[in-house]
Amino acid sequence: MASAQHGQDHYYVPESSPWPIVAMISALLMVFGLALWINAVGLGAWIFFGGFILLAVMFYGWFSDVVRENLSNVYNAQVSRSFRQGMFWFIASEVFFFLSFFGALFYLRTIALPWLGGEGYLAMTHHLLYSGFEAVWPTAGPQPTAGEFEAMGAWGIPALNTAILLSSGATLTWAHWALKKNDQKQLIWGLIATVVLGLIFVGFQAYEYIHAYRDLNLTLEQGIYGSTFFMLTGFHGFHVIVGAIMLLAVLGRAIKGHFSPHNHFAFEAAAWYWHFVDVVWLALFVFVYWL
């Protein structure tokens, strides 16, 4: 390994920054407020929203600093690689976050449910505790508390949402190609299309939740089906919203002309995140809605 292939003489170390402390304070306010709020104590909700606003300010301030530094060309190729690799491993940790919810779903459907139905040596337990309960999916468990419910079908809005999210992946790739060809106009339109498709997705998802609560009596209280359905789709929806916010920020920067064909990490990071959310949805569609 020759040292000549590394181009830089000096490393880059950023100036000190107040934002990490602000981030810590906002996180503390949020979790402290939330802990009080869900127990209906005092000013919990206000503390939580105070922390949330501070979080938004922090993100804006921190990223503004980074954007300013980037535009003044103090970053070198190594810093850019650090950002890329950092984002990659962050998404890897998110993958495992979602995997545990999918793992919970598989475990509950294929292992725990047959046990509740009296499989194996549990026949006597089943007879004494839950006799008459049949292990079929979907279920609200052997002692449902919230009445009858209907499961969410796959081939209505969810299928449409699949098409919408896949198209948004395509429009995002279109924007990326435009960026690489330095076509500012197509980049902006591609991003706008992606964000709009993302918002339509979230809108449909919201409509689906209302439909579930109003017409299907499918709620969070509907035992294990309701739990897994809302937890998986809810966390995914939350990630879509976060991804859409990231893309909106990227759109704003694209309009300002921040990106060049060779320097557009923010675009790539948001795009990777969006594609990750896309892939999670495909797994959701198959395992939560369809099968």
């Binding site: 390994m1 000096h10 810590m24 475990y107 739990s227």
Partner: protein, 533 residues
């Protein structure tokens, strides 16, 4: 073996900013490393204090000092504070201080995020302490009597203090994941030109493997406690059988995190030993590449053996057999590490300064803890040992020598580098003997009372266990006091002492010894040139 030539290029960087700003707004890996270490030391005393109350209560049968729920809350806190507050931050402190120095990098790859990773910890500690304090207030609900494993259904019945704890765990998770991302990126992207992966010191490799483990398993814990939160407050049934859920699911999620966590605690310390052994044996490390392989094998196997913590819960025979066999397999790479470390010492010109004393003690005692681990891995045997004091003795023999002593050894080894002063060798050796002997007095008897049937996590016990518990408690008090000596040695070394050379130990190898002691605020601002001999 690598050597380096050091070119000074400090003209464009100045010293640290003054006052509080230096610490609050830091982007300096050395300052952040110091903050991690100081935080860990504070938490060590907090966690130790709860252990002292536990041992005082167990000095005699019957209830003396604390009520059962408070006792179990102290057991919970002792575990959580020691694992998340003391050992992990201390290991992260060593990583922050040493990895950039060892790989010839000017700092961590993402220095601001590095500061965030640290500063989330005090917030998490505050939430953890609140979870303990809240039940003392009117309307504060019940105490957390579940132990650190937080198993439902009990954890679903605890009052609001459990919510504070759940959010503390979320914060700790964020901190760990961000720190791990930083460490991985630093090692992949910030190595000095020409420094290849397979040339990296074992400490750096150990932390790389640890960081991967953290990224993969901490989100699972976060997801698990999130489901717990929803079951507690929003009507879901993940862990409630009546709604079709299963409390055992939480155990799977928890231990999918919890078992790799054991290796997360131990691997950095084993990495420290690989730096210390060659220095005081005056021989190169034996089997560098096989150590890397063994650590990767431990991490990989460690991720697929979690359910050996749940043998008695009623899994299928096939599952139990699988987890038993895979668990016992881990003893092969662990044995290889022990073997390599012994071969490093073999026929070396050894001297026994404090870091080396700890290292030798670790190899002995950690192996012992590993052997009781093999006993516990065997299903029919574990049916007897499960949830007994034998388990307590086992994991304290693993975690104190395996994790904590490795950190002590690292602190003594690198303290001259950090402070520029040699520590007081006589006092440090006194600390070592007091610590190690009282450790054995504390935990060795627990093997026997465990085998005789004393359950753990219970405030009271049968009078037949009194004598051994008394011995254990007396040992624990000496053990606790020994840490005051440790604190004194640290403070004394920071304030003064014999001046340390750049190469504080005569035969120490590695880039960290090429810079002055203490190192300037910014090191390696120009990459060192690596010559491969």
């Amino acid at each position: 073996m690598t050597t380096a030539t050091h070119a000074h290029a400090d003209h464009e960087h100045h010293g640290p900013p003054s006052g509080l700003k230096r610490w609050l707004f830091s982007t300096n890996h050395k300052d952040i490393g110091t903050m991690y270490l100081v935080f860990a030391l504070i938490m060590l005393f907090l966690g130790g204090a709860s252990a002292m109350v536990i041992r005082a209560e167990l000095f005699m049968p019957g209830l003396q000092l604390v009520q059962p729920d408070l006792y179990n809350n102290l057991v919970t806190n002792h575990a959580l504070i020691m694992i998340f507050g003391a050992v992990m931050p201390a290991a992260a402190g060593l990583a922050n201080w040493m990895i950039p120095l060892m790989i010839g990098a000017p700092d961590m790859a993402l220095p601001r995020m590095n500061n965030l990773s640290f500063w989330i910890l005090p917030a998490a500690a505050l939430m953890l302490i609140l979870s303990f304090v809240v039940p003392f207030f009117p309307g504060g609900g019940t105490q957390i009597n579940t132990g650190w494993t937080l198993y439902p259904p009990l954890s679903l019945q605890v009052g609001m203090s459990m919510d504070f704890l759940i959010f503390a765990i979320h914060l700790l998770g964020v901190s760990s994941v961000l720190a791990s991302i930083n460490i991985i990126v630093t090692i992949f992207n910030m190595r000095a030109p020409g420094l290849r992966m397979m040339q990296l010191p074992i400490f750096v490799w150990a932390w790389l493997v640890t960081a991967f483990l953290l990224i993969l398993v901490v989100p699972v814990l976060a997801a698990g406690v999130t489901m717990l939160l929803f079951d507690r407050h929003f009507g879901t049934s993940f862990f409630i059988a009546a709604g079709g859920g299963d409390p055992v699911l939480f155990q799977h999620l928890f231990w999918f995190f919890g078992h790799p966590e054991v290796y997360i605690l131990i691997l950095p310390s084993l990495g420290v030993l690989a730096s210390i052994l060659p220095t005081f044996s005056r021989k190169p490390l034996f089997g560098h590449h096989s150590l890397v392989g063994a650590m990767i094998a431990i991490a990989a196997l460690g991720m697929i053996v979690w359910a050996h913590h749940q043998y008695t819960v009623g899994m299928s025979l096939a599952a139990v057999k699988y987890f038993m066999i895979m668990t016992i397999l881990i003893s092969i790479p662990v044995g290889l590490i022990i073997f390599n470390y012994m071969m490093t010492m073999w026929r070396g010109a050894m001297t026994f300064e404090t870091p080396m004393l700890f290292t030798v003690a670790i190899i002995l005692m950690f192996s012992f803890g590993g052997l009781t681990g093999v006993m516990l891995a065997v299903v029919p045997a574990d049916m007897q040992y499960h949830d007994s004091m034998f388990v307590v003795a086992h994991f304290h023999y693993v975690l104190l020598p395996g994790a904590v002593w490795g950190l002590f050894a690292g602190v003594f080894y690198w303290l001259p580098k950090w402070t520029g002063h040699m520590y007081d060798e006589k006092l440090a050796k006194t600390f070592f003997w007091l610590h190690v002997v009282s450790f054995n007095i504390t935990f060795f008897p627990q093997h026997f009372i465990g085998l005789a049937g004393m359950p753990r996590r219970i405030v009271d016990y049968n009078v037949m266990f009194t004598e051994f518990n008394m011995i254990s408690s007396v040992g624990a008090f000496f053990f606790g006091i020994s840490h005051l000596l440790f604190l004194y040695i640290i403070i004394k070394t920071v304030r003064g002492g014999e001046k340390a050379k750049a190469r504080a130990w005569e035969s120490a190898q590695g880039l960290e010894w090429e810079v002055e002691s203490p190192p300037p605020h910014h090191t390696w601002t120009t990459p060192p040139t690596i010559k491969t001999a």
